[in-house]
């Protein structure tokens, strides 16, 4: 966050003195510098693929991580960039999960179709509900998103003829991906499928987040009124980004359905929204990869805890949250800035160290 702010202020101070043409080219260069692929990103993806070969017995937990990561990255778009605290992001996840299940049950067993339909359905819900979060303060938004999440859970519970109610939705098995790759018993194909969706999704969101559009979102997060004064249409931008985030959250839900061949009403539960917030907090917000790192850590910790105390792991998750907040989130998230920016640092001339 600080790095970005400093870069932008630094950029605008300099550009103010120059002609518009050179300002434009400088701005373009600045954007390019912000959006270039960093070293740690390559490491992450290589490690994710390497995990497939190194840990063949851990496919299920790796799949879980990939799904949670996509979910968390989509929330980061809303929380880390647009600054909207949402307690109901699971609504989109759950809707996506149910839609994917229903598509597989009644129409097409092919997973990619289900994935896309689930994404579209969640996106529509996101678009409709995004208008509700435009008004009011943090608290109002919190309440509205929480209300939407609870409403979705209630709907899924009551429409038992469609969703199976409390028993969940089962009785379908996803077909071969694109008609080529059958899901195997060990979840290897499932992992690669989730990883591929996660990769594509993250890359798309990365493109969005590090574009001028993403920068304007950060401006809205900083101060919506000032953003409006420099001609950033805050409301429109929030609607768009909320919808996009909903699409990817829905896709994450669809992935869960397709890899487990089951939808439980748990996909809409409140604790899922809280969990994903925790994931983002562990990993840090505002740079997308926080969702990935957080998902890895969170899933490992949760797995470890549920082995030690199967019934009471919630306590330690809560304790973790309290401690994290009291220590200070930003202090924890800062470690990322110590990672090497990339192999060589010479192209754009002298660049200041990002830490003040």
């Amino acid at each position: 966050m600080t790095a970005v702010q400093q870069e932008t202020t630094q950029g605008s101070n300099v550009t103010a003195n120059l002609s518009t043409a050179s300002a434009a080219s400088r701005a373009a260069r600045l954007m390019k510098r912000r959006s270039r692929i960093r070293f740690f990103e390559i490491v992450v993806w290589v490690a994710a693929i390497a995990a497939y070969f190194v840990l063949p017995s851990k496919m299920l937990i790796l799949t879980e991580i990939a799904i949670l990561a996509l979910f968390a990255v989509s929330l980061d778009l809303v929380l880390g960039f647009a600054g909207i605290v949402s307690l109901g992001h699971a609504a989109f996840f759950g809707l996506g999960a149910y839609v994917a299940g229903l598509v597989a049950l009644y129409y097409v067993a092919e997973p990619v179709v289900g994935l896309i339909v689930a994404g579209i359905a969640a996106g529509i819900l996101g678009l409709l509900t995004s208008f509700l979060i435009l008004r009011g303060s943090d608290l109002t938004r919190l309440m509205t998103t929480l209300g939407i999440g609870l409403m979705m859970a209630e709907v899924a519970n009551q429409m038992a003829w469609l969703t199976g109610g409390a028993d969940g939705l089962s009785g379908f098995s996803p077909g071969a991906i694109l008609g080529l790759f059958e899901f195997d018993l060990f979840g290897k194909v499932g992992y690669l499928y989730c990883l591929a969706v996660l990769f594509i999704g993250t890359m798309i969101m990365r493109r969005i987040a590090f574009s001028p559009f993403g920068l304007s979102l950060k401006a809205i997060k900083g101060n919506a009124m000032r953003a409006g004064m420099i001609a950033v249409p805050a409301r429109k931008r929030i609607v768009i980004v909320y919808t996009i985030a909903a699409v990817f959250a829905g896709m994450a839900g669809a992935l869960l359905t397709q890899t487990t061949a089951f939808v439980s009403p748990d996909v809409l539960a409140f604790h899922r929204s809280a969990d994903v917030l925790l994931v983002l907090v562990i990993g840090g917000t505002g740079y997308l990869y926080g969702g990935l790192f957080g998902a890895i850590l969170f899933t490992l910790v949760k797995d470890w805890l549920s082995v030690i105390t199967p019934q009471y792991w919630m306590f330690y998750i809560g304790l973790l949250l309290v401690i994290l907040v009291l220590i200070g989130r930003d202090r924890l998230a800062r470690w990322v800035e110590y990672l090497p920016e990339r192999f060589s640092k010479k192209e754009d001339g002298p660049q200041k160290e990002s830490r003040p």
Binding site: L79, V85, L87, L132, R135, G136, S137, D138, L139, T140, L142, M143, T144, L146, G147, I148, L150, M151, E154, V155, Q158, F270, H271, A274, L277, L278, V281, Q311, Y312, W313, M314, F315, Y316, I317, G318, L319, L320, L321, V322, L324, V325, L326, R329
Partner: protein
């Protein structure tokens, strides 16, 4: 019909007692405290333990629930909450969700996950007829007690020195401190008092609302509705909101059980869109 209305009023009164502490923390101190239900649960469990294990009278349990919840509130406020008054809302949300999770798991560990039942004293159980309307005695008791508390609260806030100090501290913390008001102490006492009321509400609600380890999560949304719909500038706003919510919820569950909760959430969202500052908010706060 009238019985439903009566039950709704009792339910609403109870919600008010439970939520009015939250009105202060959330609305006045601007702290998003999702863990408010945990204090109520503490009060409820104090009552259950005292009555079922030690056979202490219900009437003694109520003040005990208040005191225990207030003390827990005071300790937590002094040790944890006060560091977060200036923190971003996201931090406060995460922190209080963490507390809720801990409270749920701890209660589950010590008390087990089942519904807790209490045996009311005989003079409070059963029904009686008042002008042809069936009236639960316990609900009547609840209404009377809550009404007294509501009036007392209003008087404390508007008439006493402490109330005016609190209002001053809320309106402008710095100026209040400059005038020699010990704002942290005022806040801590208020927080403890609010938690105590929640504990009292939890104790009284064990019969009507039920009590199990998931209590804080289950009723979190109700508390938040009361506060956000009622607004935070008065005592009467949340009071009316709680009454409305109670009646709507009871009537909804009775007449349209399938979509009852759905209506509540939908109404809340519409409310928030139409009047983001609450139904009874003063203009230009």
């Amino acid at each position: 019909m009238l019985t439903i209305l009566f039950d709704g009023v009792a339910y609403g009164m109870l919600l008010f007692i439970l939520a009015c502490g939250l009105t202060v923390t959330l609305g006045l101190m601007n702290f998003i405290n999702l863990a408010h239900g945990a204090f109520a649960m503490a009060g409820g469990y104090v009552t259950v333990i005292m009555m079922n294990r030690y056979g202490i009278s219900f009437y003694w349990c109520l003040p005990a629930a208040f005191i225990v919840a207030a003390v827990i509130g005071l300790i937590l406020e002094r040790t944890l909450y006060r560091w977060l008054y200036q923190a971003p809302h996201l931090d406060q949300v995460l922190f209080s969700i963490g507390l809720v999770f801990m409270a749920i798991a701890a209660t589950d560990y010590f008390m087990g996950g089942q519904q807790q039942l209490i045996n009311l004293p005989p003079e409070l159980s059963g029904r009686m007829d008042v002008f042809g309307v069936g009236v639960g005695r316990y609900r009547l008791f609840t209404i009377i007690l809550c009404a007294v508390l509501a009036v007392a609260l209003q008087l404390i806030l508007s008439k006493t020195r402490f109330g005016s100090r609190l209002r001053a501290a809320v309106d402008d913390r710095r100026v209040a401190m400059g005038l020699g008001i010990n704002v942290p102490v005022v806040f801590a006492l208020t927080f403890a008092f609010g938690s105590g009321l929640a504990g009292l509400g939890g104790a009284m609600g064990a019969e009507i609302l039920g009590l199990d380890p998931n209590f804080p999560l289950k009723f979190m949304i109700y508390f938040l509705i009361v506060v956000s719909v009622g607004g935070t500038s008065t005592v009467s706003g949340p009071f009316l909101a709680a009454l409305l919510l109670g009646i709507a919820d009871v009537a909804g569950k009775y007449y349209v059980p399938a979509i009852g909760p759905f209506i509540i959430y939908a109404l809340m969202i519409i409310m928030l869109i139409v009047r983001p500052n609450g139904l009874f908010a003063r203009g230009g706060r």
